[in-house]
């Protein structure tokens, strides 16, 4: 069981592909994040929890679905860490499971016809497998 957790943590770290151990927990990522006020687990915490291997906390978090991949966190990080990449790893881990899509295409018809295509493509990339 423990091994299974460890394995998943390792897989997450591989997907995130960012130097977690370089983080000094300054909190600049969370400070500058445009959607941080909506997040249950702030970007600095997401990095911390993955570095610690706290899988349960990470998988429970809804923050990855608030993250918009604007890369403000990554760009302002003084240590070259990308919290955005950890968020992506968490999203992918979730949606790569069968039937775990986060966005129901049926909802689409309710949306503004003016919505640019790129928004729809992006949503399907970010929320669905």
């Amino acid at each position: 069981m423990v091994d299974k957790v460890q394995e998943q943590v390792e897989a997450l770290r591989r997907l995130a592909h960012t130097p977690l151990q370089d983080c000094i927990q300054c909190g600049r990522c969370s400070a500058g994040c445009p959607v941080a006020f909506k997040m249950d687990l702030l970007p600095h915490r997401v990095v911390w929890e993955l570095a610690q291997g706290n899988l349960e906390t990470l998988l429970k978090a809804t923050a990855p679905w608030q993250c918009v991949s604007c890369f403000a966190c990554q760009n302002r990080c003084p240590r070259g860490v990308s919290p955005a990449a950890v968020m992506e790893a968490l999203r992918l881990t979730a949606i790569r499971q069968q039937g775990a899509n986060k966005y129901d295409a049926a909802q689409l018809e309710h949306f503004d016809p003016e919505l640019p295509q790129q928004a729809l493509v992006a949503v399907f990339r970010k929320f669905n497998k």
Binding site: R14, L15, H17, P34, V35, K38, W65, Q66, V68, S69, C70, F71, A72, Q74, N75, R76, S82, A84, A85, E88, A89, L92, Y103, F111, D112, E114, L115, P116, Q117, Q118, A119, L120, V121, A122, V123, R125, K126, F127
Partner: protein, 273 residues
């Protein structure tokens, strides 16, 4: 030099204004855009995970096609530009991704990131030059106080995009100045509009757009320009009624200043300020 052009999905449909003005201006400015004969959607978002190979192929095909046609690829949409530049960087730097992509596409001559991906604005700045552009302006936008909205994807991550200083960008302000307008600097110009949250979390989107417009209006911007169809959509569709300002694509104002189009039709009804 051959300016291969990658319009991307949105510019072919919802953001035709951005596209058409750009083509007309480019021709006038001496760098006619030649659309790649075949291209696919770039995927709109950059695939961050290193194992996401399939998601990189659309961009890779465009890059390889451009490599075979002189090696320059011009983009307009912030999202396309972001994805193409970053995938190109992956192919130049990450051996594993490069090998996988080349193997999958069965490229004759392995692609190693040789194509130079340029944003239309980079061409304006580095090849035409804003000083020259200013000389070519026939209908200057004198007296118009316009704020530039960069958003996120043009600027970040700055090490890969190398577009402008991500925290203190000046390219669009210099561009506006060249057109004769008065650029308005405001703090939120490089913050994200929340992009595709327009679909999944419009509430969040409205809140953020509110912040951006407040910041712009505080500095007395009478209109905004952007390079991204999604930014423009959000700034218009998700703006509170009392905050609305006209939002143009930068190419529309460029066309206007060059006398190619008498007036840019803002998505937003009503005159400026």
């Amino acid at each position: 030099m051959l300016y291969n052009y990658y319009p991307g999905c949105t510019l072919s449909t919802k953001a035709k204004a951005l596209d058409q003005a750009a083509r007309a201006c480019a021709a006038k400015l001496g760098f006619p855009l030649v659309e790649l004969p075949e291209w696919q959607c770039c995927g709109a978002v950059y695939p961050l995970a290193p194992d996401a190979i399939a998601e990189r192929l659309g961009a890779a095909r465009a890059l390889i096609s451009a490599r075979d046609k002189g090696g320059v690829l011009v983009t307009l949409c912030s999202a396309c530009h972001h994805v193409l530049k970053r995938v190109n960087d992956d192919l130049a730097r990450d051996e594993e991704i490069r090998n996988k992509v080349n193997a999958y596409l069965e490229v004759k001559e392995p692609y190693q990131g040789e194509t130079k991906v340029l944003h239309f604005l980079e061409v304006l700045r580095d090849q035409v030059g804003f000083a020259k552009l200013a000389q070519l302006v026939t209908h200057p936008l004198t007296g118009r106080k316009i704020g530039a909205y960069y958003g996120c994807m043009l600027l970040r991550p700055s090490k890969v995009l190398a577009f402008d200083d991500p925290e203190n960008p000046q390219l669009l302000e210099n561009f506006l100045q060249a057109l004769g307008a008065t650029p308005v600097r405001y703090g939120m110009r490089n913050e994200c509009c929340t992009g595709y949250m327009a679909v999944t979390n419009p509430g969040l989107c409205k809140q953020m757009v509110g912040e951006i417009l407040r910041s712009a209006r505080d500095e007395e911007a009478q209109a905004l320009i952007t390079a991204c169809p999604l930014c423009r959509y959000n700034l218009v569709a998700n703006a509170a009624p009392e905050q609305k300002v006209p939002v143009y694509y930068f190419t529309e104002l460029l066309a206007q200043a060059l006398g190619l189009q008498t007036e840019a039709a803002p998505v937003q009804a009503g005159g400026e300020g």
